[in-house]
């Protein structure tokens, strides 16, 4: 199917009333989630997943995707107005965005972020249209060896890009893989780590674990240090960038988009890395680097463009290879598999309406966000002043009902509580749980591909170093691991990931 008929099919799919409504609901919900601190996209998507099981696959994916990129927009709003990064990837936006707000230029900062994000979203979507079929074509020749190496790369990147030490990240990845093994082994039929419980025979549901660790775990951790959020909200005046603003932000938006588009495709790399790199690049090439951190509009436009571009292109490896790059994408894969859709190189042929519908809906969603969000800034600002004591009981209710409804099992609710407590322990121990969720989805795939690769090679592990794609992927992973030990990169990583949760 060529691109134009594909886009036409996508337009037909995305513009049905149902899909449009869910896209709208998704981006609206996503923005709200991005605005509310203490409720991230991972927690929200895992909480809402069970309720999307009844929807058609394309509708469910369109809404979940809307939540994901909508939260990027919302995160930047609080970053600028309140100096609170609603999302990890908006941490850099607080630097110059809030500085601008303090100078009374909040509206222009918001506009720069929104315009940058919209432009980047459009380019990101176009990039998916062009790159996804190419990658899917390439991926058809990938065997288990290549897939295994790609999974290793994804897990390594997720370890490198989380706060805390590398060893901790490695431990979390291994723990996630172990949790993924619970249940019946597909090849031998042997029950592993089930403790004789029939409830565990089908394995641990990833929604239960993700909701527990991220939804409930966050609640438990936030309640311990419940403080009054006396956030002062900057006034929003003119929303229109001046002619000078336009001139100054055009270049950064273009460069930020480029960085985001490319880094978003890397497994595990994603949003965070792209927004930091875009900011660092602008600061480096700027004629007036001393303005950065004091309200330079470049420092808002570039990272916002980058993280939104990356939010779009992160879908490429997820859809065409079936390999999630981030914890959020891991949840999307989980959602698709529940719907009976196996993401992978064949998705364009087998599910053209799903693929193209999603792509077009992402563009529509970005447009909706641009139109909606600037006028709704006041509403979002009010949303953030909801006290946490009203919010968290509702989060508890939604997590509990969501988990129960997966298979009408009270056992899952107890299990979710257990993982909530575990998530709390992880936070207290300074162990970032995102790699665990990624490994939970990738672990069983890794085992299966390793088994197949070694079966074909008769147990000879050197195949991983003879296939060009495989050795190339492993080399990238090795370079990443080495680079983290270099002092200069280490410093950037520590600074960058400090605030991030």
């Amino acid at each position: 199917m060529d691109i134009f008929s594909g886009l036409l099919l996508g337009l037909q799919t995305a513009s049905t009333l149902t899909n449009f409504t869910y896209c709208f609901a998704g981006v609206l919900l996503g923005t709200a989630v991005g605005v509310l601190p203490g409720l991230g996209p991972i927690a929200t998507i895992s909480m809402l997943l069970p309720f999307t099981f009844g929807l058609p696959a394309d509708t469910a994916l369109i809404m979940l995707a809307g939540i994901f990129y909508g939260s990027q927009y919302g995160g930047s709003t609080t970053a600028i107005l309140m100096n609170l990064p609603g999302e990890a990837s908006s941490v850099v936006t607080t630097l110059d965005g809030h500085a601008m707000a303090k100078q009374g230029k909040a509206g222009r900062a918001l506009a720069a972020a929104a315009i940058g994000s919209f432009f980047a979203g459009t380019v990101g979507t176009l990039f998916i249209v062009i790159a996804a079929p190419l990658l899917a074509g390439m991926a058809l020749s990938f065997g288990p060896t290549e897939y295994f190496s790609l999974i290793v790369l994804g897990l390594v990147t997720s370890m490198v890009l989380t706060s805390g030490s590398l060893l901790t990240g490695f431990g979390m990845v291994l723990l996630g893989m172990l949790l993924g093994m619970v249940g019946t082994d597909v090849n031998s039929g042997a029950a592993r780590y089930t403790f004789g419980s029939p409830d565990l025979m089908d394995g641990l549901n990833f929604v239960v674990i993700a909701t527990g660790i991220f939804g409930l775990g966050d609640v438990l951790a936030n309640l311990e240090n419940e403080s009054t959020r006396a956030a002062s909200i900057a006034k929003v005046s003119s929303l229109f960038p001046t002619r000078d603003d336009w001139r100054r932000m055009t270049g950064p938006i273009l460069r930020g988009t480029g960085i985001g588009v490319l880094l978003g495709v890397l497994p595990g790399a994603g949003l965070l890395l792209s927004s930091f790199s875009a900011y660092a690049l602008e600061k480096k090439i700027s004629n007036h680097p001393e303005e950065f951190g004091k309200g330079a509009i470049e420092g808002v436009a570039a990272p916002e463009a980058a993280n939104n571009a990356a939010a779009q292109t992160a879908f490429i490896p997820m859809l065409t290879l079936g390999l999630p790059g981030t914890a959020t994408m891991a949840l999307m894969i989980g959602a698709l598999v529940v719907q009976g859709v196996q993401p992978g190189p064949n998705i364009l042929v087998e599910q053209p309406a799903l693929f193209w519908g999603l792509v077009v809906s992402m563009w529509i969603g970005n447009l909706l966000l641009l139109i909606l969000n600037l006028p709704l800034v006041g509403l979002w600002a009010r949303l953030i002043s909801i006290p946490y004591r009203y919010l968290f009981p509702l989060i508890c209710v939604f997590t509990a009902i969501g988990v129960y409804s997966i298979r009408n099992s009270a056992f899952d609710v107890y299990l979710m509580t257990l993982f909530g407590v575990l998530g709390y322990v992880f936070r207290k121990a300074g162990a970032e749980p995102a790699p665990l969720i990624l490994a939970l989805i990738l672990g069983p795939m890794a085992e299966e591909y390793l088994r197949r690769a070694l079966l074909i090679s008769h147990g000879n592990a050197s195949v991983f170093f003879t296939s060009p794609v495989s050795i190339g992927t492993l080399l990238i992973a090795a370079v990443l691991l080495v680079s983290i030990l270099l002092p200069s990169f280490r410093r950037v990583r520590e600074e960058g990931l400090q605030e991030v949760d």
């Binding site: 093994m181 031998s188 309640l223 508890c396 009270a410 509580t417």
Partner: protein, 154 residues
């Protein structure tokens, strides 16, 4: 040894790794060319235990932060409220269970106080949940639970 972040991480990884390894030894190992169900678990759990040991060794350097518990009550109150919800859901029906969970969890907040407004809000929210999840979304959860035959439960 002080309870630092590294001690907790290392201890957790080591304990889970060792237990998982001992359990995995019971599963058939197979050969690299024909991996049995025990092959991968043994590999991963060994690595996890080793990682745990590595982190515990690092803990001796004393570089990581001490763990401080500010308030531990919310942990028990909120977990307890959710477990009770799981147990009571089909016995009380969705709206009543939601109401109990709302109020139960809310008591964990430092700023919690009884007010008729908050209770009324929770009651309205419970009814909305009942309509949304059971009537509109059609989740197979009873509105009136099995413990309430007076109200006409099946």
């Amino acid at each position: 040894m002080k309870l630092t972040q590294d001690v907790v991480q290392g201890g957790l990884f080591l304990a889970i790794g060792v237990v998982a390894l001992l359990m995995a030894l019971d599963y058939p190992l197979g050969t690299p060319g024909r991996m049995g169900p025990g092959f991968f678990p043994i590999m991963i759990s060994t690595l996890l235990a080793l990682t745990g040991i590595g982190i515990l060794l690092r803990a001796r350097l004393g570089m990581s932060e001490l763990i401080r518990l500010a308030r531990s009550m919310p942990l028990f109150i909120v977990s307890g409220a959710i477990i009770a919800f799981g147990f009571l859901l089909d016995k009380l029906g969705l709206p009543l269970a939601v109401l109990l969970l709302c109020i139960g969890a809310a008591t964990a907040s430092v700023r919690f106080e009884w007010s008729w407004k908050a209770v009324a809000g929770a009651a309205v929210f419970s009814i909305v949940c009942g309509i949304l999840f059971v009537t509109l979304l059609g989740l197979p959860i009873p509105l009136v639970g099995s413990w309430l035959p007076v109200l006409g439960a099946p």
